[in-house]
């Protein structure tokens, strides 16, 4: 039977199942920007996440901390659709990302629908992952032109503004290989922002950098946090930074949220012994 989601009534009662969307976002405050519902992720026989449920409000900045292997990076990768969900659902702005429930069954959405959803999500990687076959400017304008269908002039103008914002306006025509790690990472941030994402995922963005280059990248992220209302999810080992920018800290252990709360509480008065040992091991 061919897919019929265009006609079929939506059992979830969500306003729209299709993500082609008006683009205009962030409805009422009641709809979470991100929702995990009974999420499970297994790699082979290893269960990384099990029965994970949480919501993140629009504009919220959430730091995911925890020992390596606790599943925090997997959470970002699931949202960015870099990993396949084993079970459960993820909703972005109330709309299903990869799977939806129809007549009590879990159905995978068409890849085009999922891709339309991911345009609202941006990600910055530990290893920058700039495209080496393009200049800095071309890296930034590629997706706005070909995914958001912006005109080249507009994309270039916005890209130059963003590069200026991250302090690299004069590097626009360079190849990424001629930039330092810190500069590459700032270009990667500009590239993600050029898509005007509602959600920005930051995956250990300073871990691959020489210590003296970390500051510039964090400064850029601080500015973004202060001047925009993008929902941010960050996996980091920079506890000071997590404390500064986040509204909420989620401590993961073994694929579960061990505890969560405002940064002052988690860093100042953690309830769990494991959180305490983890924090003392990274600070």
């Amino acid at each position: 039977m061919p897919p019929t989601e265009n006609i079929a009534p939506d059992p979830d009662g969500a306003s729209s199942t299709e993500a082609s969307a008006s683009g205009a976002s962030a409805s009422g405050t009641s709809t979470p920007a991100i929702e995990f519902k009974d999420v499970e992720k297994r790699f082979g026989t290893t269960t990384v996440l099990k029965n994970l449920n949480f919501t993140i409000s629009p504009g919220e900045r959430v730091a995911l901390i925890g020992p390596s292997g606790s599943g925090k990076t997997t959470i970002l990768r699931l949202i960015m659709t870099l990993e396949e969900l084993t079970d459960g659902y993820i909703f972005i702005d109330g709309q299903p990302l990869t799977h939806t429930e129809r007549n009590g069954r879990r159905v995978e959405l068409p890849s085009k629908t999922t891709r339309a959803m991911t345009t609202r999500i941006g990600m910055v990687f530990q290893q920058f992952n700039l495209f080496p076959n393009m200049t800095v400017l071309e890296n930034v304008i590629e997706a706005p032109i070909h995914v958001l269908k912006k005109s080249k002039d507009q994309a270039v103008q916005e890209a130059r503004e963003l590069l200026d914002k991250v302090g690299l306006a004069e590097k626009a025509d360079e190849h990424p290989s001629r930039l330092s790690g810190g500069q590459q990472q700032r270009v990667a941030i500009a590239r993600a922002l050029a898509m005007s994402p509602e959600v920005l995922l930051l995956d250990e963005v300073t871990s691959a950098l020489d210590p003296e280059l970390v500051g510039d990248v964090l400064a850029v992220l601080r500015t973004i946090a202060e001047t925009t209302d993008i929902t941010m999810l960050l996996v980091t080992h920079e506890m000071q930074f997590a404390r500064e920018v986040s509204d909420r800290v989620m401590m993961f252990d073994g694929g579960q949220v061990l505890e969560e709360g405002p940064p002052n509480q988690i860093f100042g008065a953690p309830r769990h012994e494991r959180t305490r040992t983890f924090l003392s091991s990274v600070q």
């Binding site: 941006g122 990687f125 080496p132 070909h146 995914v147 025509d173 190849h175 001629r178």
Partner: protein, 256 residues
């Protein structure tokens, strides 16, 4: 010996025709092989089994059967099935299929060698799979596949010699005629070797040029490139002063 050279001179126009046939077979065969390699190589990287499996079977079949038998099949068997092709088309077809299968494997493995982070960054920017391949993955894979494709191109050139079995008068055939008219086996086949070598050398230089351009576009230098070796020699001789002028491979010459 002088007799040999006069008969070689007399024979030059004929050898020229032979070279022409060999070059047409090489270039048309390589073009065909590249098209086949792209189609099959990309299909083999597909996530869809209905694309991947047939492509894999075709590649293994044409890699696993002899070029000469493929040629004979096109030339002698197809007419029995009612398809008559001229010898040139048979030659080009057999070379394209055989070397296309080998090159498909090169295309496939190079595409899969491109760093996983590049695929992930493309997904994170919501680029469509086609766009991702054309703009991000293939240009990087291209730089990786050129050295292997260059080797296959040289092998294809040498492989063209088998077409003399199906009445085509290529370079090998003409050299054989030269041998018969001079009665000097050593001389004729040595001339043949030299001509093949010169053609192969020119093709290799062209492929090196392509590789330099492809790697320069990635902002990298070709490892152990000629400019690099020249620079090393110059430094060893203690005249490092002008090396900036050689440093063009990496790009715009704007130093940070």
């Amino acid at each position: 010996m002088t007799d040999n050279f006069t008969s070689l001179l007399d024979f030059l126009p004929q050898i020229g025709e032979g070279i022409q046939v060999t070059l047409i077979l090489t270039l048309a065969g390589a073009l065909g092989a590249m098209i086949i390699a792209l189609v099959l190589g990309l299909s083999m990287t597909s996530t869809h089994a209905w694309l991947r499996i047939p492509a894999r079977i075709i590649v293994e079949f044409f890699r696993g059967t002899s070029l000469l038998v493929q040629l004979f099949w096109l030339f002698y068997v197809l007419p029995l099935l009612g398809v008559e092709l001229d010898p040139m088309s048979c030659g080009i077809g057999a070379l394209a299929l055989n070397y296309g299968a080998y090159s498909a494997e090169v295309v496939r493995s190079s595409i899969l060698t491109v760093a996983r982070g590049q695929w992930e960054a493309a997904i994170a920017l919501s680029l469509s799979p086609a766009r991702r391949m054309v703009r991000i993955i293939f240009p990087q894979a291209w730089a990786l596949m050129i050295p292997s494709l260059a080797t296959l191109l040289i092998q294809l050139l040498k492989g063209t010699a088998v077409v003399s079995f199906i009445t085509l008068q290529d370079l090998t055939d003409k050299i054989n005629q030269l041998r018969m008219s001079t009665n000097d086996t050593f001389f004729s086949f040595t001339v043949g070797l030299i001509i093949y070598f010169v053609i192969a050398w020119i093709l290799q230089e062209l492929m090196n040029l392509l590789e330099r351009r492809a790697t320069a576009r990635l902002g990298r230098k070709r490892p152990n490139s000629r400019t690099e070796r020249r620079l090393a020699r110059r430094l060893a001789r203690g005249e490092g002063g002008r090396h900036d002028a050689d440093d063009t491979a990496a790009g715009k010459g704007v130093r940070p």
